[in-house]
Amino acid sequence: MNEKNTLFVESAFKEYYFNRFDLIHVPQKASEREFGYQKFNSGMTRHLVIRNDKELRLLLMKEVPSDVYCSNAYYSFPGLPMAEKDWKGADLIFDIDAKDLGLPCRQDHTVFKCSSCGHGIIGFQPKCQQCDSTKFESVSTTCKICISESKNQVTRLVDVLTSDLGIKKEEIEVYFSGNEGFHMRVTNSDYESLGSHERADLADYIMFNGAIPESFGVPRQSNSKVSLPSTDEKGWRGRVARKLFSSKSKAPKISKDIIANGHTTFQVQLDEIKKTMGVKIDPKVTMDIHRIFRLEGSINSKSGLAKIQCTDLDSFDPFQSACLLGDDSVDILVDCPTQIRLKNKKFGPYKNEKVSMPKYAAVYMLCKGLGNIL
């Protein structure tokens, strides 16, 4: 980001951090966690100790970071280098991102921005219409469908966590990530001591990864007895059964087909079920027991939206609730070939034109690299 844009975005962030103390809190066990932050156009500062809300606010006011992070892990000495921290446990964390869901809407609102002249277009083209350059960066924006599909994944994840893994609803916190999806945090003492390998297996469970026909009653030997799960079973066995036998009247025939088609065909069916029913979390995040994860209440510099908690997921609208920067009018030069909706107002498409818009929308454009301050 160029200096002029940076200064403008920083001042907008500073204003937010100054005005919205009510939204900025350290998580529980704060003094046992590692904090980190980044400033615009510079590297990461890690291994910080922040004990309370006051210290956090002080840091935000002083440094005006572009992004703020906090570990999911608790340590005896969070401020020391990684090898000396003495890991004690970590919250279970999950990341659901609209760009990992394979949604058809993505191509309608992913902008290809020419790397040399900055011209943006929707849909891939071999070269820039303005300057013939063949280098592009992709800039992703987010639509209503992206959000509702991500919410769908959140709902399914909550179901697996509560009914399969025995985690209580009160132990689950759901956050809008501040850009294109949702973050979840589970604080449950039984799970906090699990290491990375163990968490990888939980992630596979959630994604329905690695299921074999034998576990669902279809043996490898065709002469052995087949015993398919029933629809009232718990866990994936029940989910698979409900998927296979969605119609009660056809159940006997479906059973017969599965038995006749055998092990290999059923493996293909399980792989299909994984694609449609497995929860699409990012396993790398869940496996990571030393991650510094975006801090709730902070602004995400990829969009200028805030990471905030969703208490009622169904009615939650991130373009309304997470859009918390000021609304005084600003003049910027925008090249945004798709329409953006923020605070129930529509912006764009703009074809490299000068526009006056509220600060929150201007920051969004700048963060996405689709405009320049005048």
Binding site: D164, E198, D204
Partner: protein, 336 residues
Amino acid sequence: MLKIGVKDLAKYPFLTEAGEYLRDTGLSLEQLGHSDWKPIVEKAYGRIVVASSGQIYNSDLDALDNDSELLSFIVAIILLKSAGMATLIKRFSLAESRRAERYLQQDLYASREKKNLELPLKIIRDIFSVNVLIDNDEFVIKIPDYVKRSVHFHEKEWKLVNRRISNGYVYLSAHETVRLIRAELGEYINTRIQSVNISSIPESFRQRVQDLVALAKKFSDTTFVSSEYPPCVKHGIEVLEKGENLPHSGRFLLATYLLSKGQTVDQIAPLFKNAPDYNERTTRYQLEHISGSSGSGTKYQCPSCEKLRSESLCFAIPDCNGIINPVQFGKKRKTS
């Protein structure tokens, strides 16, 4: 209170109650040195020899007297400690854990009907700090307790996704329950032996202690784990050392990797000794086949990292960056 009888102690001689029982008999180490007790010393020695050959020492609990079963275990520990050979202690712990595992499984299985699970469940709870509950005819344990152990197994059926799960619990058979804690049982016995202190031993034990030192020398050439091995190979070796089952693809990796590093079939074969299904002849035959010195004569290559990743055998660390086959691990990369 749960009453643990001498028959139980014969099965599980590593329980703390065994020491108490011995104290109650008033038998001292000095007394054990008397020639009357010679058969026990011989029995103990035999127990170690059997264990070190990778077999499980068999007791017939109905025919034999349980006192001598228990005593021979204790004398075996004294002999082992005096000989001080770590490889023997390791082999002995492993074999004894296998032996106990059999009884544990039988006890879980047999007493399920009689609703008398107190002893096996107490052992599991005390030694492994895992709470096992009973639901109808099945054993249930908490998911976190399960995954902490199951991740060390590599067969797909141990993945959580292939288990019956409900409300935070995993359902297991008696066999699976015991299988899950096998490795810890060996470690537990090992630490119990390590923690024993022996100041002096009776004169009559000396010969057998010397025999053990000589025996241990036979095994000492089998440790060739190098820190230069890639994580996937180290992991495979560890699994085998713990006496756990390594799937075929993992054994293939070890064989091809070590052969490519210039090791011979003779050097590699002993590595598989602890495998639950070890058979010297077939192991050799397979290794010779892989090395190309028998059969078709084709020498097999070490599988790629990608292949290993798809088989869940990859445990990549930063040093793995930029390589596509384990044989490249540790070689200096060209500066580009």
